[in-house]
Amino acid sequence: MTALQRAFTGRSAYLLIAPAALWLGLFFLFPMLSLLTTSLSDPSGSPVYGYELTWRLQNYGEALADYWPYMVRSLFYAGIATAICLVLGFIIAYAIAFKAGRFKTIMLVLVIAPFFTSFLVRTLSWKLILADNGWVVETLKALHFMPDDGRLLATPVAVVAGLTYNFLPFMILPLYTSLEKIDPRLNEAAADLYANPAQRFAKVIWPLALPGVVGGTLLTFIPATGDYINASLLGSPNTQMVGNKIQALFTTAGDYPHAAALSVILMVLIVGMVLVYVRRAGTEDLL
């Protein structure tokens, strides 16, 4: 019996688990219960005098019926952003892993560097870049890529661009760790066996990078779906995502039960999609 196994016998095991259990209890289980009870409360209460728990399941039906377009829009925007991130991220991660040479560290630092400033400030700076009278829009108009009364800010393009920008590092880093582990000799061996570049990518690089792809897409898609900062700063009322709706229901409408129900629906939906995705990708062992 190793020391570790000895430590895990009898009561001491519970003691060792206690800190983690307490943490989860306080900061996961408790808020979750609070969310669930709120979602089943009578919405005729008010934020001032509290809500009464009446096990009102209709909240879920109503939230879904009223706000499903926001849910669809969120999944759609997050899906596009994740796809763009995957393409861009793969190229960048591949370049860092195999082609960067002595610039590898610098490039990795550059990927992480944006995290040193606030998420909000970074998103707000996109407002300047995409402004109606800014140089991006002016250039696009001059090149006739955009009609004269066109704009980028307050359109779905700006929201997806913001999501892509903000979550790109979450795609690059897992991809990089996967790609970095690939022995370059495998690629060379494939070339020796007359595999062309496309075949080498499909048969060697991609399968070996799959854990990074799964990790990266999850880390990008999940937060992007629930994000509301990008849509509220770069979008318009017609590009609102489900996060904006939840935020508005909590803060502006003061309708906690429906907001909570919508949050639970979003959570269940994402957990469900992730489970299916991970099973299909066949990488359960890697998570």
Partner: protein, 393 residues
């Protein structure tokens, strides 16, 4: 998960998976029980949770106010805030973190409702929200002996409000108007709310405020309804109009104070705006005007929450800002309606050009075109707020 663990291995590990799950479930049930038991109370009933005033021993004061709502030090100019700190010896933590009444309410409601401190000794909220908080028992009564200037100098139009007839809980900070602002370098004059909602050259270039009473008040006026006394049908028509303008892409966003940056940057051309913001932006292209249909008037009130530990200090602050000279200095900077009698005379010394400015010292004629929003009971308020949030959010 990997392959199933053989039973004897489970035993060796000392703590079985089943045991752990049962233990965890029991723990969760315990937490749930505690939570549900504690849930009955909700809000209200906070009369007994007024804290001891620590003003005698702690010379500090934490104030939360709206952005762009106070003068700032600039070169030789000493702000009223700095001056107050020097005169009173109090260290003031001034935070402009109120951007929207309901948003701020959501921020503090859990603490106020459960008798916890919010870290603020004084905050500034609009009439209807002030009324709601006083009604919930979350606001401390002011000690009249400490705020002689308030009783002496409050202008008559702000005395005797229904929700606080003797101003025992609240003191107006500033009043103001909600009307239209536009950027004249981008578009011609925008004179009415109907134009905001329909003019083709403004498409996608209009913002409205997330403050329901400002935005909806103006929309009701545009329909010929009276914001101080309207029917559910009139409300429905106005909401319908707003919803259509939003769906058509006429409205670009619903905002708090931040609209002023977008207006100056040219991202928006016209918007529903608060009177003082435009003047304070000091941009000659920006114009504020009262819409043809009439405009909304409101006031923001200083309130001391029950768990504010420095009530006497807060009263010093209130009393200071009700000194006509201080009030005039502040008004000259923020350009909102000054609630202090005698400030107009003091303004002569600061900036004679502002003495007759109706945005700061409105005449009876000017006030005749202003309207206030109907007082709503809790149920009505939440139903209207939900309608409004469905369009804005």
């Amino acid at each position: 998960m990997s392959e199933a663990t053989p039973p004897e291995e489970v035993k060796k590990k000392g703590i079985s998976r089943r045991g752990f799950v049962i233990g965890g479930a029991a723990g969760a049930a315990g937490i749930a029980a505690i939570y549900l038991l504690g849930k009955g109370g909700g809000g209200g009933g906070t009369a007994g949770c007024i804290t001891t005033d620590l003003s005698d021993t702690e010379a500090t004061l934490a104030v939360s106010n709206w952005p762009e709502y106070i003068d700032e030090d600039d070169g030789d100019y000493i702000s009223t805030l700095t001056q107050f700190q020097q005169d009173s010896g109090l260290k003031v933590t001034y935070t402009p973190d109120v951007n929207d009444n309901i948003e701020f309410f959501s921020k503090v409601r859990n603490q106020l409702g459960s008798c916890q401190p919010t870290g603020r000794d004084l905050f500034v909220l609009t009439d209807w929200m002030a009324a709601r908080m006083i009604d919930a028992g979350w606001i401390q009564q002011l000690d009249k002996a400490n705020v002689p200037n308030l009783d002496k100098n409050l202008i008559s139009s702000l005395q005797g409000v229904g929700w606080d007839p003797n101003r025992e809980y609240s003191a107006p900070w500033q009043s103001g108007f909600s009307g239209i602002a536009y950027n004249k370098s981008l578009v011609g004059e925008v004179g009415s709310v109907s134009e905001l909602l329909t003019r083709a050259d403004l498409k996608g270039k209009v913002t409205m405020l997330t403050e329901m009473r400002d935005t909806m008040g103006l929309l009701l006026l545009a329909d010929g309804a009276n914001p101080a006394d309207f029917t559910d049908d009139q409300w429905g028509t106005a909401i319908e109009k707003l919803s259509k303008a939003r769906a058509d892409g006429q409205i670009r966003a619903f905002t708090g104070n931040e609209y002023i940056n977008d207006l100056a940057a040219g991202n928006i051309a016209a918007c529903v705006a608060w009177s003082g913001d435009v003047a304070a932006a000091e941009d000659e292209n920006l114009v504020f005007l009262p819409p043809e249909e009439g405009m909304m008037i409101w006031s923001d009130n200083m309130l001391v929450p029950v768990q504010g530990n420095h009530k006497a200090n807060a009263e010093k602050w209130i009393n200071n800002y009700y000194d006509p000279a201080v009030a005039a200095k502040l008004a000259a900077y923020v350009w909102y309606v000054c609630p202090v009698e005698g400030a107009q005379a003091e303004m002569e010394k600061i900036d004679p050009s502002l003495v007759d400015n109706p945005l700061i010292f409105p005449t009876a004629d000017y006030l005749a075109q202003t309207h206030s929003f109907m007082a709503l009971d809790e149920a009505k308020a939440s139903s209207y707020e939900k309608d409004f949030a469905d369009v804005t959010g």
